[in-house]
Amino acid sequence: MEIFIEKWFSKKLSLKRIGKYLRLVDSQIGEQADYRFMREEEFNSNAVIVACVQREIKLVNSVEKYIDMLHGFVKQASREKCNLIVFPEYNFFDLFGLIPGFRHLNNFINKSAKKQTDLNNHNNTVANDNNNNTVSKILEGSGGATLEMYKNSHSSNNSDNNSFLAMIFRSIAIPIETGIKRIFSYLAKKYGIYIYTGSYVLKEGRDIYNAGFLFDPDGNCIGTQRKTHLVEFEKQVGFKRDCKLEVFPFNPKGCSLSRLKIAIPVCMDATYFETFAAARKEGADIVAIPIANMEEYNPWRALRGIWPRVQESYVYGLKASLNGWIAGMHFTGKAGIFAPIGITPEKNGVMAIAPHYEGNYLITASLDMEELHKERERAEYHGDRNYEFERKFLNIYKFINNT
């Protein structure tokens, strides 16, 4: 089965087929739009213009339609003179449409799931007043978030891993990686823009990772970052997590500041302050986060991720979001561009944000890198160090690691 699916995807995403279609795209773009030239002419400042994609999952029946979708966003970002465009997590779900019969099955599952979601929403409203007691009774005696709990959670076996989904992910990983790298390389070079691909499944031996790739304006893949903190679903499917966070050079033409760096962790990584502390330690000025949040939208839940991380670490934060329904799972989330409170127009930490948590949007903002560096210097509640405490703090990580 695994071999069959891999061969099927290899055929549907063959480099020959992709190359042929990209040549067609090339001829459509034509000579009149030399975006690279425009960019070099128009930029000479401390600012970097960035774009974040928010998009709805739409199953495709051909790779050409998938390329059109990606191209549409890149083209729009280029028209808005962006130096960087960021795509969301699980940026490949649309390609499940290539699996024979998946579309019909998907429609059926989604319809049932939507009905269940509506019912749950109704029941939640009715039961809200009694909710506290009920939850307490059901889960009485459950453990707390302590070292003991951490130890227990990591000593449990993975017998309940979803081997079927793991098989699907392993099957499609290599054909999709090969195909999307070709597509993004082309688009990055054609438009002279940095592209963060969003995340895909990366297969290394028998291991699979949730990982994204960064392309420079010459079409080179200059960075690969695997997710470092997994959600429960990913643990069950059998994803591995990375234990290193890298930063990559980010030097858009025309930007007067050189040696800027960008980190590209994935979704749940933004729930942990340590991720952003590591990015800052390595010199990042921008942290891009692709997300695909499998939950009903709530602004407070959304606030548990990148926004507070940006406030703690004094970087610019870029969030690209995937939304919509697939296989009965509902994804929601607003794309957003964030900065330390002191340098945002409304003094709320937000540079730009999508107007709704579902649908397609491209949001953009101009990031003043020099202003960010100045803000770090003048910030009231940032930049202090307490080395003695931090050495003791480090020991607690060592303790957990050895537990």
């Binding site: 809200n128 506290n132 939850v135 307490s136 889960l139 009485e140 005696g141 459950s142 707390g144 978030a145 302590t146 070292l147 003991e148 709990m149 951490y150 959670s153 990591h154 470092t228 903190h229 990375d242 234990c243 290193k244 729930t271 942990y272 302050f273 340590e274 502390a277 590591a278 709530n298 407070w300 839940r301 606030l303 548990r304 926004w307 507070p308 406030q311 703690e312 409170i341 003094k347 709320n348 930490g349 003048r378 910030a379 009231e380 509640y381 940032h382 202090d384 307490n386 080395y387 003695e388 405490f389 931090e390 050495r391 003791k392 703090f393 480090l394 607690i396 990580y397 957990i400 690691n401």
Partner: protein
């Protein structure tokens, strides 16, 4: 079933202006302690006062605030009372003794906000250090002292010293710690308490600069959400010497156990002088089981990246 009632006081500008002597401040403190105990019932309850409450006491103890501002501002811009040459460590003692006396009368844990704590060099009179410190008082005893570990820019300019570590105490079956003021913006402080198994964080705060709720949300609210403890935040609004401070009093809990999924059990919203809430630890554990951040920690990553513990 483990529950406790907590009360968080918020000082307003108007109320602070009525504290013209230490007596009026202490009367008001006792008024709220009594209120807290009535609300909590005997034997179970915590009250938290805003940061700098003790500093205000120390300032009042030195004489009138106006006189003090006049005489000391050239030496120590910002907080006239915070000066090793004029700040008498007896003022700290007076303040804490009075709180301890109050606590004898009430079966309640008292976090009296914060005060300047002087540490004298035993060998020489010079080189005294001033810390921003808070504590928990129960039955006439100090059960936990916590010094602020990180300093705001204005505190660095004042020349304050940093504490060495964060601690917690188990009191009446609750593991309790303090995250004092500026430390709410340094996530390693809350994280360490969370990994030590803290149930409730007491957080006296007072922020400098323009009032901005986004700033406050970026502090203890989000620390609660990334560590899943309860937090009782208590805000100071008004002048302290030459410094204007602000902050809302909020009782926080993990989103999954709050009405509206907003993480607030209670907040003053600039309309109340205190708030009360019941903390239910079973409900908190249920909420954690639905979204357990700490089990997803990746210590191998943090060790590989050499996070913390670097220069000295």
């Amino acid at each position: 079933m483990k529950k406790i009632k907590v009360l968080s006081v918020e000082w307003s500008n108007k109320e602070i202006d009525t504290f013209i002597q230490t007596e009026s401040l202490m009367e008001r403190i006792e008024y709220y302690v009594e209120k807290a105990e009535k609300a909590a019932g005997y034997g179970a309850g915590i009250i938290v006062f805003p940061a700098f409450t003790g500093c205000l006491y120390q300032l009042l103890e030195t004489g009138t605030i106006d006189n003090y501002r006049h005489t000391c501002s050239s030496n120590m811009p910002g907080i006239p009372g915070c000066n090793t040459s004029t700040l008498n460590n007896k003022f700290e003692e007076y303040f804490l003794n009075q709180i301890m006396n109050i606590s004898h009368k009430y079966e309640i844990l008292i976090c009296p906000g914060s005060y300047w704590s002087i540490e004298k060099n035993p060998e020489t009179e010079e080189g005294n250090k001033i810390y921003h410190e808070s504590c928990i008082i129960a039955n006439g005893n100090i059960v936990l002292r916590q010094r602020q570990l990180y300093l705001a820019r204005w505190e660095r300019q004042l020349g304050l010293s940093r504490g060495l570590d964060v601690e917690l105490r188990e009191v009446r079956e609750w593991k309790i710690g303090i995250v004092l003021s500026t430390d709410v913006f340094y996530p390693q402080v809350s994280r360490k308490l969370a990994l030590m198994g803290v149930d409730i964080v007491l957080s006296p705060v007072g922020f400098i600069g323009e009032r901005n709720m986004a700033l406050q949300i970026s502090g203890m609210w989000q620390e609660t959400q990334q560590n899943l403890f309860f937090a009782v935040e208590s805000g100071y609004n008004g002048r302290l010497g030459e410094v204007d401070l602000w902050g809302e009093s909020i009782i926080h809990a993990p989103l999954e156990m709050t009405r509206g999924d907003d993480g607030f059990l209670a907040r003053t919203n600039r309309e109340k002088s205190f708030i009360i809430s019941e903390l239910d630890n079973d409900m908190r554990k249920a909420a954690i089981s639905r979204f357990n951040v700490l089990t997803g920690l990746n210590p191998a990553l943090y060790n590989n990246m050499g996070l913390f513990g670097g220069e000295s």
